[in-house]
């Protein structure tokens, strides 16, 4: 694949029947204000944004839904906070009913301290949701075996973590991400752990199809500026992947002709 003349990466991101030009998915958690969130989302160029499902506050509306509707950004509801497959399936069903989308970011957390995904519950829920016609994007460990199992269960995308949610520790096992990419038949979206733009670039250079992040932007000192940086980082990484990097060498190789 080659980019067009403007230098933009080629191709669209297809997740199930949903197609996106942007390869940066933004989470809305952690934003200090809706105004700031709007500026960051606009700067990021994102076309898909996560929301969480929570008990409705009796007597108040949902500002974030109004905002995302106004910006024309597609909703990706998540199942954050669920500990079991049964909870995640019910939350997904409620999200589909509330928001009218079949997209679901499946996440089943094993414990509050690490927020690491529970692979057994996640695969179980993925199977049930795929059977019910959901377009499932599954949050998973950076484990190539679990990623394959999720794909077999019917997931439309697998989303391995770079490092635990909110840590900003970047991609701790790049080789595992490459292994996941090498065998995946569905899009691979690097989710969680991104701290700064170079992390997003690395994810794309490793062959990921997209990056999902929230804290790195919403809790940055200047979220709007960091959103721009992430957008550029994702684009740079994608272009570099398409361009084909040089092999790494142990010894120097002169780039000028010999005398």
């Amino acid at each position: 694949m080659t980019g067009d003349l403007a230098g933009e990466p080629a191709g669209v991101l297809a997740i199930g029947d949903h197609k996106f030009t942007s390869r940066l998915i933004i989470g809305t958690g952690g934003a200090a204000s809706l105004d700031g969130l709007e500026r960051a989302l606009t700067a990021s160029g994102t076309e898909l944004t996560t929301v969480a499902m929570r008990r409705a506050d009796l007597g108040s509306g949902s500002g974030v839904l109004d905002l995302l509707g106004r910006l024309g950004i597609a909703l990706l509801p998540n199942t954050a906070g669920c500990r079991t497959a049964a909870e995640a399936v019910l939350t997904a069903q409620l999200a589909r009913e509330a928001l009218g989308t079949d997209l679901i970011k499946l996440e089943v957390h094993a414990d509050d301290r690490t927020l690491l995904p529970d692979p057994i519950e996640t695969v179980d829920a993925a199977q049930q949701l795929a059977d019910e016609g959901f377009t499932v994007l599954a949050y998973t460990n950076d484990d190539p075996v679990t990623a394959l199992r999720l794909e077999e269960a019917g997931c439309a995308a697998v989303m391995p973590l770079g490092s635990p949610i909110g840590t900003g520790l970047g991609i701790r096992n790049p080789h595992n991400i490459e292994l996941i990419v090498a065998r995946a038949g569905v899009p691979v979206i690097l989710d969680a752990g991104i701290g700064t733009a170079s992390d997003a670039t690395l994810a794309m250079e490793l062959g990921c199809d997209a990056v999902l992040l929230s804290t790195a932007v919403t809790r940055a000192q200047d979220p709007e500026r960091m959103a721009s940086a992430m957008r550029a980082g994702v684009t740079a990484g994608r272009l570099a992947r398409e361009a084909g990097r040089i092999p790494q060498r142990f010894w120097a190789q002169a780039s000028s002709p010999p005398r």
């Binding site: 989470g27 969130l37 929301v51 949902s62 839904l65 909703l75 998540n78 509330a98 970011k105």
Partner: protein
């Protein structure tokens, strides 16, 4: 009759439907979903589905997250 809505006790007229309950709670119908006793009630059923006495109702909406 008395039901539990999101963990809070609420008084509703007997034989209220889901739609009637939402109106009584002054909730917008857009962007929310309803489960009664752990089962999702489809939007198309709201006008007909009756909420029983003592039912545990969960009403969810989208918030910032993820």
């Amino acid at each position: 009759m008395r039901i539990q809505v999101n963990g809070e006790s609420r008084e509703l007229p007997d034989d209220s439907t889901v739609a009637g309950m939402l109106a009584a709670l002054e909730l917008p119908e857009r962007g929310i979903a309803v489960a009664v006793d752990g089962v999702v009630v489809r939007r198309t059923e709201w006008a007909r589905a009756v909420v029983g006495d003592g039912a545990h109702v969960e009403i969810l909406t989208a918030v910032q997250g993820g």
